[in-house]
Symmetry: C2
């Protein structure tokens, strides 16, 4: 049988998995990303982890054809095989990650892409986008990432960094982001943005909330969703505002490549209708007439825990 | 020799031209669009015009291989060969323009696309984008149109209407557009938007301007550009504001498909640095770090008068 290897490089953990064509992760391993102070040390650890995952899978399943290895990482460049100045990783500057691994691991194909692009590939090959050729993937996490599919192909753009909708300005003069710019979508609609909105809603309404006993620095989008599910006013307003702003933004983004669907992924989607209802309503209301009724907002079908590994493995299926 | 026919259907005039592979329009004809009250009457007139252009070219050049006929029109749908509910044309509802012409004209290929998409095709086949595979065309006229090129192909999206950047919200709660939505880019950065900004600048500053003797309803973006060129404060502020807002918007749009270049086309570009300088400055300043220094704003190389015919003819080159 043929398997693909998927690697998810995150700020905290790096996770490796071996993936079947029907999206089962048959063996996996993870290690601490941050203990490695430089790219060479990290590449050594990743190599050991990959070899361990391969050995486990071969022990269990017998002989395996390894199609290749795909990596999803922040600020990764598919064209160059590099990770460029990631804010949350120790290796600074430009790291030639594909080269570092090709020197260490004997596989027919090794490639890297940005984590949100990997999610889009995962949706296409293992998720709900199998029959959808024009879609935009939007991942809501600490930040907000995205990936464009046009005519059945992931869009990399001229420099490999296409699909950074989290940085599109949606509120001119609004919240600050890590780049020092203002009002970008991710400062509002990521999991982090939801927490920021929660505090803005307290500022706006000055009402008590079920989270009044939670330390300020410990409020999470999940705890806000839980409070909203119990009818808390501030939390409910937070999700109304978030969904509405997200829907409006997606109605603008639809005007770029006219996707058939948006797929939304990430923790905030666990709140279900809390975010989806206002998002869908604002989306449809804000489409221009020729676009109305032709496209939809969908929840990703990727399993939350394995999505990043599946997406990285899908890079092998897409590009090999 | 092989020629392509290009048809530009505008609210006032419809223009037909025969185009060589090196972008020369060797014969042309135009007629009044608005006198035709229905699509059949219009199709008859267009057929006569096309036959006249073909006869003139054949008279001048001898035998010609006709590659086909491309049409650029507002609200045109390439996938369906239709024009759908165009606000400025008499034929309402959905007009099957390609079918109407195929019944009347014997050519190996007839197709239609939206006028801004045609402009993008014109830039690719006859203009400055010949060697550029990832770019976005932006046309500034009465409205603001756009066309996306990704990996050397025009993007139509799942429904044929991709590339409507004029309707992207850039100022939430801002100016009204024809769809009743607010703050879309074309209400600010089209030729019409420039006139609206001129009045906003008078409201803001309450200062005299060189255009004080021009009737309110007769102010044009061209007259504002002329006043700005003479140092008029209100007119200069108008172009500063327009260029700045355009540059910021394009810096957001770059985040979608990461184009190597934006090509800008239309009357307001005749003002040259008046709009380009603030636009380029705001563009570069508002790009996120991984995008800085990698892409540029360029002026279209299409000749203003023939651009629409060239773009429509390029549809034949692209799709035949």
């Amino acid at each position: 049988m043929e398997l693909a290897l998927g690697v998810d490089i995150g700020g905290t953990n790096t996770r490796v998995g071996a993936v079947t064509e029907d999206a089962t992760v048959v063996s996996r391993h993870s290690f601490d990303t941050a203990v490695h102070r430089d790219a060479d040390s990290f590449a050594d650890a990743l190599t050991a982890s990959v070899h361990q995952v391969m050995a486990t899978a071969e022990n269990e399943l017998g002989e395996i054809r390894w199609a290749g290895l795909g990596i999803g990482a922040p600020n990764a460049n598919f064209h160059k095989g590099t990770i460029e100045a990631p804010p949350n990783l120790n290796f600074k500057g430009i790291t030639p990650m594909v080269n570092l691994l090709s020197e260490r691991i004997d596989l027919p194909f090794i490639a890297i892409t940005n984590d949100a692009n990997a999610a889009a590939l995962g949706e296409k090959f293992y998720g709900a986008a199998k029959d959808v050729n024009n879609f935009i993937m939007v991942t809501l996490g600490t930040g907000l990432g995205s990936g464009y599919f046009v005519n059945g192909k992931l869009v990399y753009g001229h420099d490999g960094f296409a699909g950074e909708l989290g940085h599109v300005t949606v509120v001119p003069g609004g919240r600050y982001c890590g780049y020092g710019r203002r009002g970008s979508l991710e400062t509002y609609c990521s999991a982090t943005g939801i927490v920021r909105t929660f505090f803005e809603m307290i500022a706006l309404h000055n009402k008590p909330t079920l989270l009044d006993d939670v330390p300020v620095g410990r409020v999470t989008s999940k705890s806000i969703a839980n409070a909203a599910a119990e009818g808390d006013f501030i939390a409910t307003e937070t999700f109304e505002f978030t969904g509405d702003l997200l829907g409006k933004a997606l109605a603008s983004f639809a005007l770029t490549t006219s996707p058939e669907k948006f797929f939304l992924f990430g923790g905030p989607l666990n709140s279900g209708e809390l975010i989806l209802k206002p998002a869908r309503s604002a989306y449809e209301a804000n489409l221009i007439d020729p676009y109305k009724g032709k496209s939809t907002l969908e929840v990703s079908a990727l399993p939350m825990g394995d999505a990043a590994i599946l997406g990285a493995a899908a890079l092998v299926r897409a590009e090999k």
